[in-house]
C-alpha cells in the first residue's frame, strides 16, 4: 500500500515537472511545420487538457502497465523500456559486484592495518578517483584504453544474445569486453563509498568491548576480525549498498551517455532532450518502483542481520 502511494506521488511530481522541461511539439515536427498543425498535434496528444485530467489519464493507463506511445519513436514506451532494461541492469549488476568485491576487502584491510603505508595509499588514491566528474573519468578511460591502447571498445554493448526477451552481453567476448570500461566508471564512486564506510564501521566495532573481550579470551585475531567485527559492520553497509544499488541505476544515466550504452538511462536522457514525456514518466515511475523494492529488501535484511532490532517489533 505504501509503495503504491510512493509511486503515485512520484508520478505526480514527475508529471508536474514536465511542464518545465520544454515543449514536446518542437521536437516532433520539422521546422517548416505550420503553427496550425502544431496546435492540432498538441490537441491530439491531449497536451491542452487540464493538468489533473492529463495526470488522471496517465495514472489510469500506467496501472495497467500502459505508458502510452513515445512521442519521438511512436512505439509503446513499455516495450522500449523492456528492451533497454537488460542493458542497464547488467551494467548496474556488474558495477555493484565490482564495488562490493573490491570495496569490502579494501575497507577491511585499511581498517585492520590503518597505519600501514599501503592503507594510506589506498585511501588517498581512492579519493582521486571520486574527485573527477563521471563524464570526465569515462572519457579518460576511453581515451586511454580505447584510443591509445586500443584494447577495449569505446562505445556500445558489443554483440548481444537474445534469451527470450532479455538481451545479454554476458555470453559473447565482445559483450564482456564492452562491459569493462562502463562498469568501472560506474563502480568507482560506489567502490570508494563502500570501502570508506566499511573501514569506518570496522574501526568503530573493533573498539567495542565485545571485540576487545573476544580478543582477551584468546580467540584468534582472524576469527574475531571476520566473524565478529565484520558482521557487526554490516548494518550501515547494507543500508548504503542497498541504496547505492538504486542510485547505480539512476547514475547509470551519465555513464550510459558517455559510453553510448543502450540502456534506460540513455533512453531517459535522450527523452529529456526530446521532451518525450511518456518515456520520462515511465522511467521515473520504474525507478521509483526499484527504489521501493530495494528499500523493502534492505529493511528485511536489517532484521536478519541484527537480531537486536527484532526486539522492537515483537
Amino acid at each position: 500500500m505504501q509503495s503504491v502511494i510512493v509511486m503515485f506521488t512520484v508520478g505526480l511530481i514527475a508529471f508536474s515537472m514536465f511542464r518545465f522541461v520544454g515543449d514536446p511539439i518542437n521536437n516532433m515536427v520539422g521546422q517548416d511545420t505550420s503553427e496550425q498543425e502544431r496546435i492540432e498535434l498538441r490537441e491530439r496528444l491531449g497536451l491542452n487538457d487540464p493538468f489533473l485530467v492529463q495526470f488522471g489519464r496517465f495514472s489510469l493507463n500506467a496501472v495497467q502497465g500502459d505508458f502510452g506511445l513515445s512521442y519521438k519513436y511512436r512505439v509503446p514506451v513499455s516495450e522500449m523500456i523492456a528492451e533497454r532494461m537488460p542493458a542497464t541492469l547488467e551494467l548496474a549488476f556488474v558495477a555493484a559486484i565490482l564495488s562490493l568485491a573490491i570495496g569490502i576487502p579494501l575497507g577491511v584491510y585499511t581498517a585492520l592495518k590503518r597505519h600501514s603505508f599501503l592503507s594510506k595509499l589506498i585511501m588517498t588514491t581512492s579519493l582521486i578517483g571520486v574527485s573527477l566528474p563521471t563524464f570526465l573519468t569515462g572519457i579518460m578511460l576511453i581515451l586511454f584504453f580505447g584510443v591509445v591502447l586500443r584494447w577495449l571498445p569505446t562505445f556500445g554493448r558489443g554483440d548481444v544474445i537474445e534469451l527470450g526477451s532479455w538481451s545479454t552481453g554476458f555470453l559473447t567476448a565482445s559483450g564482456l569486453k564492452s562491459l569493462i570500461l562502463p562498469s568501472i566508471t560506474l563502480a568507482l564512486f560506489q567502490l570508494t563509498l563502500i570501502m570508506r564506510l566499511v573501514r569506518a564501521e570496522m574501526l568503530e566495532v573493533l573498539r567495542t568491548d565485545f571485540v576487545k573481550f573476544a580478543k582477551a579470551r584468546g580467540l584468534p585475531n582472524r576469527l574475531v576480525n571476520f566473524k565478529h567485527a565484520l558482521k557487526n559492520t554490516l548494518v550501515p553497509v547494507i543500508t548504503i549498498t542497498g541504496l547505492q544499488l538504486g542510485s547505480l541505476i539512476a547514475f547509470a544515466i551519465i555513464t550510459e551517455s558517455v559510453f553510448q550504452w543502450p540502456g534506460m538511462g540513455l533512453l531517459f536522457i535522450q527523452a529529456i532532450a526530446d521532451v518525450d514525456i511518456p518515456i520520462m514518466a515511465a522511467y521515473l515511475v520504474l525507478i521509483a518502483f526499484f527504489f521501493v523494492m530495494i528499500n523493502m529488501i534492505v529493511d528485511i535484511l536489517y532484521y536478519a542481520v541484527d537480531p537486536r532490532l527484532r526486539a522492537d517489533n515483537e
Binding site: M28, G30, T154, S257
Partner: protein, 532 residues
C-alpha cells in the same frame, strides 16, 4: 516554358555506370549524433531522418551528391501548363518486397503524406491533384505556379500501396494514443539501393544492399551499420580506435587531432546553414532589458551598432577554428537566389559602433538578455559568449541565457510566444531555395498567411512581403532572382538581421572509405565506397 530532363538523366546514368558493381561483402559502419526516430518516411520533416531514409525510399526526383535535382522514380518531366506537370514514371522499378512501382503508388504516397499524423503536409500540399494517365504517366497539378516543384518532390517518398494496405499503415505514424497503424514506423519497403534488415531505434540500424536496384550506383558497400552516438568525444574516440568508418559531426577543434592520427581524417565543407542573430523589432518595450518604455532595437542605429560591434573574423578564427565562412547574407552560396555582391559582412568597427549608440541616445549602452541554444549548432554557446564579450566592449551588457534546444525553442518560437529580445538561430532552407527564407524569416509575422513564423523578432517591411508573394509564383528565373536580390538588399540596408557565418560540415572519416559529403549534412550511401 518547358524543362526537359531526359538528356540529363541519360548523362547521369552513364556517369554512374562507370563504377564497378559490388561483388565482395563490404560493411560500412557510421555514427551520427542524432538517431533515426522512425522508418516512416512521412512521420518527421527533419533533414537527417529524410536523407537517411533516402537510402531506402525515393521520391520522383532525387538529389545527387551536389544537391542537384536528378530524375528519380520519374524518368523525365515537363511543364505542360504553368500549374500542370507531366511526369513519366520509371518502368521496371520494384519495391524491396518485389512489387512493381506504378502510378497508383504515387497517388497513395501523396495522400499518405497528407494524412493526419504526417509531418510532410507542407510539401504534399504543393500538389493540388494527381491525374493518372496510365500506369507510368501522371499529371501533377499545383495550386499555383511553382518553379521549384521538383525540389519539393525529392522528399515526398514513394511507398508501396499494396504493402501499406496489407499492413494497415495507410496513414502516417503519429504519436497520438489512438494510433494503431504504426507498422511502417519499424518496418520499411522502399525502392532505394538499401533495405533495412534490423532496426532498433536509438540503438542500431542495419541496412543491406538491394541487389535489384534500378540503377547502377557508385557504392560497393553491401552492408551498412548505423549507431547513434550522442557524445562528441565518444564519437571521435570510436573513429580513431578504428571501430567506425565515419562519424559526424565532430567538434571543429578536433580536426587537428584527426589529421594527426593514423588512418583517419577530418572531412570539412561549407554547410548550407546560415547562423545569425535576430533582434526584437516589434514590441514597444523589450521583454528583457533595462530600457523601459521604448525598444532600442526599433532604432536602426542600434541595430547598426550591434552589427559593427561583432568581429566575425575573430569568431571564425578562434571559436570555429577557421572553419566557418563569415557572411553578410541570410542564405548560403549553395542556395538558389544567393547574391555574391551582398555577401560581404558588416564591417567590424567598434569605434563606429560606440558612436552610433551615443547618437541613438545610449552613450553608456544598455542591458539586454540573449537567448542561445547550447546543443543545436556548431559551438553555438561559444559563439554567443563571444558575441556577448564583443558587445560588452561597446558598452552593451548582455545577459546570456544558454539552454538546451528543447527549452530554447520552446521559449523563442511561436509556441512560446516569441519570448525573446535577442537570439541566435540557424537556418537551412529545406528546398535549397531562397523563397523559404523569405517567407519564414524575412516576412512579417502573420498567422493567417503562415508567413514569418520563424521571424522571431518580427522584422517587418511591407515591400518585402509584397515581393515575397511574387517570388512564390514567378516562374521566370531571372525575374525571380532579381526580386530575391531586391529583398536581400532591403534587409541588409535595414540591418534586419545580423548574419554571422555558414557553419562548417565537420565529418571524421576513416581512410578505409571514400564518401561524398552533401551540403545538407546528408550521407547518401550511393556514394560510399570502401577502398581496396
Amino acid at each position: 516554358m518547358k524543362l526537359r530532363h531526359g538528356l540529363m538523366a541519360a548523362a547521369a546514368a552513364a556517369a554512374i555506370a562507370v563504377a564497378a558493381p559490388a561483388v565482395k561483402a563490404e560493411t560500412f559502419k557510421y555514427a551520427f549524433q542524432g538517431n533515426l526516430s522512425s522508418l516512416d518516411p512521412h512521420s518527421l520533416n527533419e533533414t537527417f531522418l529524410l536523407v537517411s531514409l533516402g537510402n531506402i525510399y525515393e521520391g520522383l526526383s532525387i538529389y545527387d551528391d551536389n544537391l542537384g535535382i536528378q530524375p528519380g522514380l520519374a524518368e523525365s518531366w515537363e511543364t505542360i501548363e504553368p500549374t500542370k506537370w507531366k511526369f513519366n514514371l520509371r518502368k521496371g522499378v520494384k519495391f524491396h518486397n518485389g512489387n512493381d512501382f506504378t502510378a497508383a503508388d504515387v497517388v497513395f504516397s501523396w495522400q499518405r503524406a497528407l494524412s493526419e499524423g504526417s509531418d510532410q503536409k507542407v510539401r504534399a500540399s504543393k500538389i493540388k491533384a494527381i491525374e493518372v494517365i496510365d500506369d507510368h504517366t501522371i499529371i501533377i497539378e499545383t495550386p499555383a505556379p511553382n518553379p521549384i516543384l521538383t525540389s519539393d518532390l525529392v522528399f515526398i517518398y514513394m511507398m508501396d500501396k499494396e504493402w501499406s494496405e496489407k499492413n494497415n499503415t495507410t496513414s502516417a505514424t503519429s504519436a497520438s494514443a489512438d494510433n494503431t497503424g504504426n507498422y511502417a514506423n519499424l518496418h520499411s519497403n522502399g525502392t532505394g539501393p538499401f533495405k533495412v534488415i534490423d532496426h532498433k531505434a536509438d540503438v542500431k540500424t542495419t541496412f543491406d544492399r538491394n541487389t535489384a536496384y534500378w540503377s547502377k550506383i557508385k557504392s560497393n558497400v553491401t552492408k551498412v551499420e548505423f549507431t547513434p552516438i550522442k557524445e562528441a568525444a565518444t564519437r571521435v574516440a570510436a573513429l580513431i580506435s578504428g571501430e567506425l568508418d565515419l562519424v559526424y559531426p565532430i567538434p571543429v577543434q578536433d580536426w587537428k587531432r584527426l589529421d594527426a592520427a593514423e588512418g583517419v581524417k577530418a572531412l570539412a565543407g561549407p554547410e548550407a546553414r546560415t547562423i545569425f542573430l535576430g533582434m526584437d523589432q516589434s514590441r514597444d518595450e523589450l521583454l528583457y532589458s533595462n530600457i523601459k518604455g521604448k525598444n532600442p532595437f526599433k532604432d536602426i542605429r542600434v541595430r547598426q551598432a550591434f552589427a559593427h560591434a561583432l568581429n566575425l573574423e575573430a569568431i571564425k578564427k578562434k571559436v570555429m577554428r577557421g572553419a566557418a565562412t563569415p557572411t553578410g547574407l541570410m542564405v548560403a552560396p549553395q542556395i538558389n537566389g544567393f547574391v555574391e555582391e551582398l555577401n560581404t559582412p558588416y564591417a567590424y568597427d567598434p569605434a563606429k559602433s560606440r558612436a552610433l549608440l551615443t547618437e541613438a541616445g545610449y552613450p553608456d549602452g544598455f542591458e539586454v538578455t540573449m537567448d542561445c541554444p547550447n546543443n543545436r549548432y556548431v559551438n553555438d554557446e561559444k559563439i554567443c559568449q563571444a558575441a556577448v564579450s564583443m558587445l560588452a566592449k561597446v558598452g552593451v551588457k548582455v545577459d546570456l541565457l544558454a539552454q538546451p534546444k528543447s527549452k530554447y525553442f520552446g521559449k523563442v518560437l511561436s509556441s512560446g510566444g516569441f519570448d525573446t529580445s535577442f537570439y541566435l538561430l540557424g537556418w537551412t532552407p529545406g528546398t535549397m531555395d531562397s523563397e523559404n527564407v523569405l517567407s519564414s524569416l524575412l516576412s512579417c509575422q502573420n498567422k493567417e498567411t503562415k508567413t514569418g513564423l520563424f521571424n522571431l523578432g518580427n522584422y517587418c517591411n511591407p515591400r518585402v512581403d509584397e515581393l515575397t508573394k511574387k517570388v512564390g509564383s514567378e516562374t521566370d528565373q531571372a525575374k525571380r532572382n532579381a526580386m530575391i536580390k531586391e529583398i536581400f538588399q532591403i534587409v541588409k540596408d535595414e540591418y534586419g538581421y545580423l548574419p554571422l557565418h555558414q557553419q562548417p560540415l565537420s565529418w571524421g572519416v576513416s581512410d578505409r572509405v571514400t564518401v561524398s559529403q552533401r551540403a545538407d549534412n546528408g550521407l547518401d550511401f550511393r556514394y560510399v565506397v570502401v577502398n581496396k
